[in-house]
Subunit: 330 residues, 3 copies
């Protein structure tokens, strides 16, 4: 069953059960059956990684990590995914400072040079749409979007969805609380879009008013069939959430330090007291990290806090699965 | 048949059929028989790479990539060559900023430390003669020149020559057009020297007068036996060239942006119209890249344009062959 | 026989014959029996490396190289150690500029993220105590100290001790000369502490008066049972030393270039004449490198100068052994 979403751009090819050779640019390429397949492979990958099993699945293959902006976490996670499977990386960070890009080379040429050296390209870029542009430029190898500006970061959402799926055995009939910078958080937007593929999900969005979802995002998400309830005060947090998903306020989006401080002061921090008051015993607390005044470190010891346990590790496993599928090795 | 060229420096050891353990500093170390051997191995390497064959040819070996100036293309190409063959890299970029070099360590000590960690050193440096200096400093492992200032970049020329050899089955009796910045282009100079090893080659050099070959270079190249014809206008391009080799004007060589723009304005760009008018059906169009206002991207779709196809890939294959030979694994 | 030293901090776990899973933060964790074991394994590692034997000892394992300050030598040595044994590295350099750290992430979170991707973390940091802090933060993988500020750099001392042990077959009853910046040199302090584990060692410390050992260090070292004799003039160098250990004056420690120059002018440089006059035929001359006006390059050709021969190579072998032991693969 391949559910085609209305927001699919004409240039994104749906996966439709076949990952091999496909560019992975947007979450919208995934139908429920594709996610099922990915999660099945991810479970296999988890076993390999947890057992430190020497894998040769990607032996003989080179994956280019082309990072136009720094992102050590995503970079390391992809590098670990490649190397856990016996592949090798060709790493190019900050090419605008250090490479032919600085001599005036076009983005398209940089992509086409990288694909001559590799079997797949993982691209990080600060401009929205860069991943799609790269996918169009590449003639021979698949491009995987590792975050393009405010646009998408599909592997982050895939790991978040896998984490929920692993914990609850389903991605429908879930009640969640998404907190923090709902206006700017790419991870909140994408997770909501991902969960809208499934039925009967109810999501509470907790933020100060100036950081609530834009009206456009609110309407378009509701149109996709997810139930959204916006709240602004701690005391409105429901007691029956299956998961909390906390995000930091993105300092870099504010015009002044003063405005950032004002927004930050209105943020509800996930603390032991907050969990004690509002959280179910069997919920999980997620955070895409880095956390900066979003989740109190005193919560870390709580078993429900999965951000530094399964969630971060699932990032490696999901990327292992995606690479193995896209490279046709599984 | 090992033809010794007149410009050979006393410190370069000729290859004379035996690559193992040799420093690769200059194109002048190669005789025709050495090139034949290299090209034969390169063809094998191409098969390994094209089939993504897991190779263990360099298993257990470490290659140091010591880049004193950034060059992401050459760096990635060498890294890909090592890793395609099952070897590993030890990478040190920009050591003058980040390492003991900044504490006052000498170049010789840096080389000798690197050789203690590796089985071969690939060196990039902005100073002419750095590769020879490194080769003298290294006592245990071979040094491969990946470009030393305006001096030499032998692996670039080897890949250019392999590309011609693969296409035409020979490196003699060729007619070529070399265009762009003939005065400053290290790749044009080296390719002309390389082709002068073979008989009966005729090379047209197309450039604005202020960017034509220096008289010294012109005379010394002609002395090596290659036929050179300098032209300055589009309409003088002959119709019978086997290949075109286009280069960018090197902005960084000009005293002012104004002077650069003036030179650039007199440059003939390789456009679809230019190929339509002057190029044979079975010629190839090469460019060492990066291209900056040298070849019109509209030409990319033309099958004769090999710069982003075989030429860039041959860089990896040639370097695989050179490493396998120098490390004595083939 | 596991000798517990008096300066052991409560948070360092002694090795006590079992390296597996242990953090390696301080030299004080090692008893004589642990050093014996490490040296035995180091000899095996040396054979693997010298024969370029393809080893799979660390196959399937990832080692994070997390370097908060640049140190190309230590970085490359650890990278070589991992790769020589068939392992892979996840490399994060200068995370304060390039990563989530710049977004405000805590040191503890950075460590816990890195451990989610890897099987061990090698940490370099400019702050004293960073390694211990990291070891406490990491819940799942061992942390190896690759130098934390002025505090410790245990693998440097382990390689120095292995070099002496390999040469003399013992680490007791040795007479040594340690020269240069005795006040600031972390390597001199640590080597003296290491040698104090063994009986009947006599160490001459040669330095200008303003760079002699601090009185605290002098007293605490003597309390550990090593015989220390401070000298300040070339003519007081004894003729019976088994080894010389030379260090540079650390320019970065001086308030002004003038003060540095004054201190440097009083330093005795290890020259061929100095060796001719004072050194035994069968001694060895060591230097932790980089050398800057410490050892005259004219000495390099002397067989007794081991700094660019066995000493630097032993760094790789010792780190191979330590990694294999800590990762439980030997």
């Amino acid at each position: 069953m391949y559910q085609i979403t209305s927001r699919l751009q004409p240039d994104f090819e749906m996966i439709c059960g076949n990952f091999k050779g496909k560019d992975i640019v947007s979450l919208d390429q995934f139908a429920v059956a594709d996610l099922d397949k990915l999660f099945t492979v991810t479970r296999q990958m988890k076993r390999i990684a947890e057992n430190n099993e020497p894998s040769r699945l990607l032996e003989g293959l080179l994956v280019g990590l082309l990072f136009f902006e720094p992102s050590s976490r995503t970079f390391s996670s992809f590098a670990a995914a490649v190397k856990r499977l016996g592949g090798q990386t060709i790493e190019m960070q900050n090419p605008e400072a250090f490479s032919s890009v600085s001599k005036g080379e076009t983005f398209e040429d940089t992509i086409q040079v990288m694909e001559a050296y590799t079997n797949a390209i993982v691209l990080r870029h600060r401009f929205s749409g860069a991943a799609e542009q790269a996918a169009r430029a590449a003639n021979f190898v698949p491009v995987i979007n590792a975050g393009d500006g405010n646009n998408e970061h599909p592997t982050q959402t895939l790991l978040d969805m896998y984490t929920l799926h692993e914990r609850f055995g389903r991605l429908d009939n879930l009640t969640g609380l998404l907190a923090g910078d709902a206006l700017n958080s790419r991870t909140i937007h994408s997770l909501l879009r991902g969960l809208s593929l499934y039925e009967n999900n109810t999501m509470y969005v907790l933020s100060p008013r100036q950081l609530q979802l834009s009206r456009d995002d609110f309407v378009s998400l509701q149109d996709r069939g997810i139930r959204l309830i916006e709240i602004h005060r701690e005391q409105d947090i429901p007691h029956d959430c299956d998961f909390w998903y906390w995000t930091r306020v993105q300092k870099e989006r504010f015009a002044s330090a003063e405005e950032y401080r004002r927004a930050q002061s209105e943020i509800v921090v996930a603390s032991p007291a907050l969990l004690e008051t509002y959280a179910k015993k069997d919920m999980i607390l997620m955070d895409p990290l880095p956390r900066v005044e979003s989740v109190d470190p005193a919560v870390d010891a709580d078993e429900r806090a999965v951000y530094l346990r399964s969630q971060i590790r699932n990032g490696v496993y999901t990327r292992m699965a995606l690479l193995a599928l896209v490279l046709g090795r599984i």
